[in-house]
Symmetry: C3
């Protein structure tokens, strides 16, 4: 029971609190949107345990090292899992990852986006295994991201119905 | 009947004519692609009532204010609804918004993408309400957009079959 | 039988070998992820016949002409078809293209992304025809792409079950 959460605990990983928005920012949409057997995950950034946005901030390759950015991608994964748990009740209802779109805030010369987003993919594969955790992925460079976060990830998953 | 169009009329909002392409631009794809119970909406920009691309054009934060860009995001929403109406016949066939990808043409230092795309989200929530209108969303900064439009939005929706 | 592959042969087009990664790059995800009746295609770039990344590399409009970039978009289409064939066994199992997200590596002033991604769309429409090949599309400008590729495309398709 609670297979994925047991794995998180075994690895010493914790799910952060819900995003605490900076003053003046309003986000009129849910972190996860369930429609039929699909969960659409809104673009998420890395969070500290208290739900504040996690730094370092700015451009990967200039303000943020590739290693730090990969750690931020892992934190983004934990933030997404926290949102999925709030929406689904149980992370074991996830039957398959479909699509992951990994966005890296970077300058025009940066070309290591895959190494950054691997911080997310390795987490998902470690927790869910190769069959459920398998995901199509893009990892690309954005001109800018909200509130100068270094990494943002959106995703689509396949979900089993809730057990009555 | 025609619940969504009644709401549009009550708010004094009109759906624009189909996109009139600038000379030399060809777009070999539909504005909306129906597959099963999903409508995939091609990346759309803001339109004037006559179907011409709506300005101001260029980079949000430099050439276009955040307030003007939010108004362009609303216009993009109306352009998308116009395309959905042409494809579906009736906007009331929309049973749920799934995913919205909001793209803002901006410089590397811009960080208010959510405030821009809120112009779209507020329109959709106002017209469709919190259950049908609920959408997962990303709002991110692009290096450049076609024909220097300031905002582009793509989306995926859940659709009911046409009534015979 | 093998209708799409017959068309490829008639046009003198060949599918490239699987992507050969540059040293030090690891991609822990499949090129195509099947879930139910959907195939999610990971962000792909243009390949040479031997699976090496195809140039020219860099920014379209500066390092790469629009014409060369459109040819790279066609090559990206062939790379995606090669991945779909490996996963599906038979390209004729594709019953409908859903969504295509076309990313162009470019400077902030570039605005001809549609002309570039048309190299992909024309290939798909030519091979699959207007009903199956029809796709929703965005064509947008990215700050940077992995390994300086000029074009990257991700997609979602509808797939028929394998015949036993």
């Amino acid at each position: 029971m609670a297979r994925i959460e047991t794995k998180l605990a075994e690895r010493g990983l914790t799910l952060p609190q819900p995003l605490v928005l900076p003053p003046g920012v309003a986000l009129p949409f849910p972190e996860v949107n369930l429609r039929g057997n699909r969960a659409y995950v809104s673009g998420a950034g890395p969070l500290n345990d208290d739900g504040s946005l996690a730094g370092p901030f700015g451009k990967v390759g200039v303000d943020v090292s590739v290693e730090d950015a990969a750690a931020l991608a892992q934190k983004t994964g934990l933030a997404i899992l926290a949102g999925l748990k709030r929406e689904l009740g149980d992370l074991d209802r996830i039957t398959g990852w479909c699509r992951v779109f990994g966005m890296v805030n970077c300058d025009p010369g940066f070309q290591q986006q895959p190494a950054v987003i691997n911080g997310f993919s390795h987490l998902i594969l470690d927790l869910f295994g190769p069959e459920v955790g398998r995901h199509a992925r893009s990892a690309v460079g954005m001109a800018a991201l909200p509130m100068r976060i270094a990494v943002e990830i959106e995703a689509e998953l396949e979900i089993a119905p809730a057990v009555a």
